[in-house]
């Protein structure tokens, strides 16, 4: 950088205290000879003051009673009216869509159908805020017995805690005239993934495949009498990795 051309980024870093003492001295030297630099710095500092004046007051406000209660009791779900309303609307809209999507399914299920079904099901049910599942995770034993029985092949609901996902629960679906199971998980940031299990007519085994639809990705495979698909809103690579882990969990 020449005498009066200090990099804008360096100047931002200076305002945000991201520079060393040495850089600081150098920048201040430039500012003394270049009023334009000093003006920029002033303008940005003034923005900070304005933001603080506008929002610092929030820190002194009394906590809402529900928040104080959560802090005391440790995070049971409190009622949130705006979510309930949004969920109700979504339920009505998506209920219609779900019917349409399901009606589109053909009679026969092949491997690629599993991926498509998983993507549609994920799209429809993961958007449900309050009712993403029929049977919740706190009834996991029942969920597992019930869905195993319906799908016709016993399976174990995988534990994905180590991977950062908590089980929300599951639901029964009807795909191509057959019962299928949908398990849903959620990470700390409310990102959801679904696992779809369907029973297969033929006993067979396939490798992992990937299918993408917009921002949603599904990984799917067949193993024995079951077809599997994992769907979620994430990039292909982390999805492949996650699917491999889930594959291993179903194997063991």
């Amino acid at each position: 950088m020449t005498q009066n051309k200090i990099d804008d980024w360096a100047l931002h870093a200076y305002v945000d205290n991201e520079v060393s003492a040495e850089q600081r001295a150098e920048i201040e030297q430039h500012m003394r000879t270049d009023p334009e630099l000093a003006q920029k710095v002033d303008a940005w500092r003034r923005q900070r003051e304005l933001l603080k004046q506008a929002y610092d007051g929030v820190m002194g406000e009394t906590l809402p009673p529900s928040l104080a209660a959560t802090l005391r009791t440790g995070g049971s779900l409190a009622a949130r009216p705006y979510l309930a309303m949004a969920a109700a609307i979504a339920l009505v809209l998506l209920g219609g869509l779900a019917g349409w999507f399901m009606a589109q399914q053909s009679q026969r299920l092949d491997v690629a159908d599993i991926a498509r079904d998983a993507l549609f099901a994920h799209q429809v049910y993961s958007a449900e805020i309050r009712h993403p599942v029929e049977v919740k995770a706190d009834d996991k034993a029942h969920l597992q017995t019930w869905l195993s029985k319906r799908v016709g092949t016993p399976f174990t609901v995988p534990d994905l805690t180590v991977e950062g996902y908590t089980l929300l629960g599951g639901r029964l679906l009807a795909l191509g005239g057959k019962p299928a199971a949908l398990l849903m998980y959620e990470d700390i940031e409310a990102n959801r993934i679904s696992i779809l299990l369907t029973s297969q007519d033929v006993d067979s085994e396939t490798a992992l495949h990937v299918e993408q639809r917009g921002k949603l990705v599904a990984c799917y495979w067949r193993d024995g009498k079951l077809g599997f698909a994992v769907a979620g809103d994430m990039a292909r690579d982390p999805m492949m990795k996650l699917a491999k882990i889930i594959y291993d969990k179903f194997e063991s």
Binding site: A13, Y55, G57, A190
Partner: protein, 169 residues
């Protein structure tokens, strides 16, 4: 210090962040509520080597984004009362030309990815590195967004400053 005590200490800045991020007091309260519930029920996912504040900000910001994705932008449209009353209860300082409401209105005019950067850096004084982790973007992206955000905000505030000045004279 146990997790709950630590968490309680982070609530004031977390609430300020939420308010400035979404610009709506009721939605901000809901986001903080949701964020704290998640933090408490899933504290095992927190890496104690990272600052708790940065983790909470990341969780809250993701809840905000997934809320927007699920419900469309309609949930953050303010109601008329909010617009009339202004956002917070901060008394303006003697020389202050810009009210709380106009700062909030200025933020509303920024692109969402500019707003979050300027709130995290300018208001919350998070390090560039923490911001890059919270947003899940490289450091260079944080800096270029910050640069654009500050330039845009400067223009918005200048426009407003002038109109207010003219009215005062």
């Amino acid at each position: 210090m146990d997790f709950r005590t630590q968490l309680a200490g982070e609530l004031p800045p977390l609430r300020r962040f939420a308010r400035a991020l979404c610009g709506d007091a009721a939605l901000a309260d809901d986001l903080v509520q949701d964020c704290v519930e998640r933090a408490m029920t899933r504290s095992h996912l927190y890496d104690p080597d990272r600052p708790l504040r940065a983790w909470l900000y990341a969780v809250l910001r993701n809840l905000y984004i997934s809320g927007l994705r699920r419900n469309g932008r309609s949930t953050i449209v303010k109601n008329v009362d909010d617009l009339i009353d202004g956002e917070g209860a901060v008394p303006p300082s003697q020389e202050e030309r810009l009210s709380v409401g106009s700062v909030s209105a200025a933020l509303d005019r920024l692109a969402p990815q500019h707003r979050e950067v300027i709130v995290l850096v300018g208001l919350e004084e998070m390090s560039y590195r923490d911001v890059s982790e919270i947003l899940g973007v490289p450091l260079g992206t944080v800096m270029s967004r910050l640069s654009r955000a500050r330039e845009h905000l400067r223009q918005i505030l200048e426009d407003r400053g002038h109109t207010v000045l003219r009215r005062v004279k």
